[in-house]
Symmetry: D2
Subunit: 175 residues, 4 copies
């Protein structure tokens, strides 16, 4: 059995410049992820990323930061494993794909871009105070699981992550 | 003066599996781009990308296809310059950034992702039968220039591209 | 038939800070590529890249520059089609893969990295005053086609490119 | 202080199809890395990557695998933290940059490419039964620290990593 198989990876995406309301939500999302024993993956910088990591570390969780730049020390102080990419914002896709599920908190255009990218890859998305979007047919898109509290966000995320993981585990390890 | 300075680059993004209505719009967008003497940049594959390129080539325009995979021959038949990336859908960002402006036609989640990414980079976006989105404050986002015909899309795109180009040209060439 | 099928793409790689001897060779390589009617692909910046493009444009050739940064205006003045990637030096792989063949002129570590990457992808490499390398078995590697003049470099490159292209064309266009 | 600051990250690069001699060396390199309490970063797949991870996990070390593809389950069974990139072999640069130092074991062209890339970035490289290379001036390159045993490789790597880390820590955390 793969050493990573036991683990659930949850990607947290959100704005890097954030209000205190959103910051508080992000920190609580991180804490719930840590308490659940899941690994938190994010972009490694400030705002929602930093607050979520701070929350996770407050309960001794594990955090991975996939950095856009070439400097490890740009990681926020709560990152355990900084991945130094040097590929700029193309790294957003790596954050999303490394998660079994994505939790989006608040939102800049970058967050909207990551939500859409995740849905395109059929990675489930949980939304907390984030974007909604309307297809050109006029219909409101229904793919994101919108929630109103951090606790609810992580509960649903864990459930969805188990489904993703199950799908992955049924695919065979190729030796 | 830079050899590229005379040129306007317009990125066209849209779904790879497309209805005949959207296909017709994309082809006309491409034709208008070609007639305007601008260079069409796209993801190089099918659907909106292919129809737009077909339109551009019908009036002897120039087309660049930034391919996700490692095979040049996956480019649609109307691509003059296939760029072989092998970086998968992370190549979407290259399509967007290579344009002075983006025209989004129709739309899958990939298209939404590219629109949001462009706006995050302050690259202007013209939308034709594509996504709208609502900020978590409840307000409809107003950054995309929505239009209803291909002709109008390209007219506005050219105007916006000139503004982007002007901003770029005032930055100095560093020897 | 694909619009790109008629064209031969030659990637030119080499150091960005270069001696006058290497610069002269690069310029002549570019001129020969232009005279042969092939498209020159490079990293878009200075040194070997700039001199090669200058040579190509002196005979009205076509040049593509795959830029590492996010600013189009960082392209050297002889680039017709700047591709704006924003993915840093990971863009080197795109330069190499976009060529049917690679010509390496002079060489920094970046050049060595691109030669090795090309060989790993079975893209043929022509070397002009560039690196040689010794396998841990003690044997000198024989894959690079070392030449001593720009004219010879381009003649062999064109021949090798036709072989690559032939292999590609026999793979079918998937509609 | 950054949560990652205590940690040393060592990138291990090497061929994915490997002889039993090289495999044994790789496994021992991994074990020494684990015993030293450093984090092992690699490309996450087979051959040198898998054997090194196996060695690290045999002494309860920590392993990160930066995968080229889009499937987490392609990671070898000894990876704790699979990073899912989907950017193909452009991910090699991420492996190298995430290390404070690189250990190259054996070697395909991919390994040569990663060694050269690391040197271009001024990331120190330790070589164990790997490539040597000759500058076009005729001089053998002297940048790689060649060693003959896994124990020696990791000892020197740890020493070099401390130097890299010191340089990084003197750069300030930007709030």
């Amino acid at each position: 059995m793969n050493s990573a198989d036991k683990k659930i990876f949850i990607a947290v995406v959100g704005e890097s410049q954030t209000s205190s309301v959103i910051a508080k939500l992000a920190e609580e999302v991180g804490r719930e992820i840590g308490k659940a024993g899941a690994v938190l993956v994010c972009g490694g910088l400030k705002g929602v990323m930093e607050y979520a990591c701070k929350g996770a570390k407050s309960v001794d969780g594990t955090t991975i930061g996939v950095l856009p730049g070439s400097k490890r020390e740009e990681a926020n102080p709560w990152i355990d494993y900084p991945i130094v990419t040097g590929i700029g914002y193309a790294r957003n896709k790596l954050v999303v794909k490394t998660g079994h599920v994505v939790i989006a908190v608040g939102g800049s255009y970058g967050t909207l871009s990551e939500i859409a990218f995740a849905l395109g890859y059929k990675i489930p998305v949980v939304g907390l105070k984030t974007w909604q979007f309307i297809h050109h047919s006029g219909q409101l898109d229904k793919e994101v699981h919108y929630v109103s509290t951090p606790k609810e966000a992580v509960e649903i995320a864990i459930k969805l992550a188990h489904e993703t993981r199950q799908l992955e585990l049924t695919r065979e390890y190729q030796t």
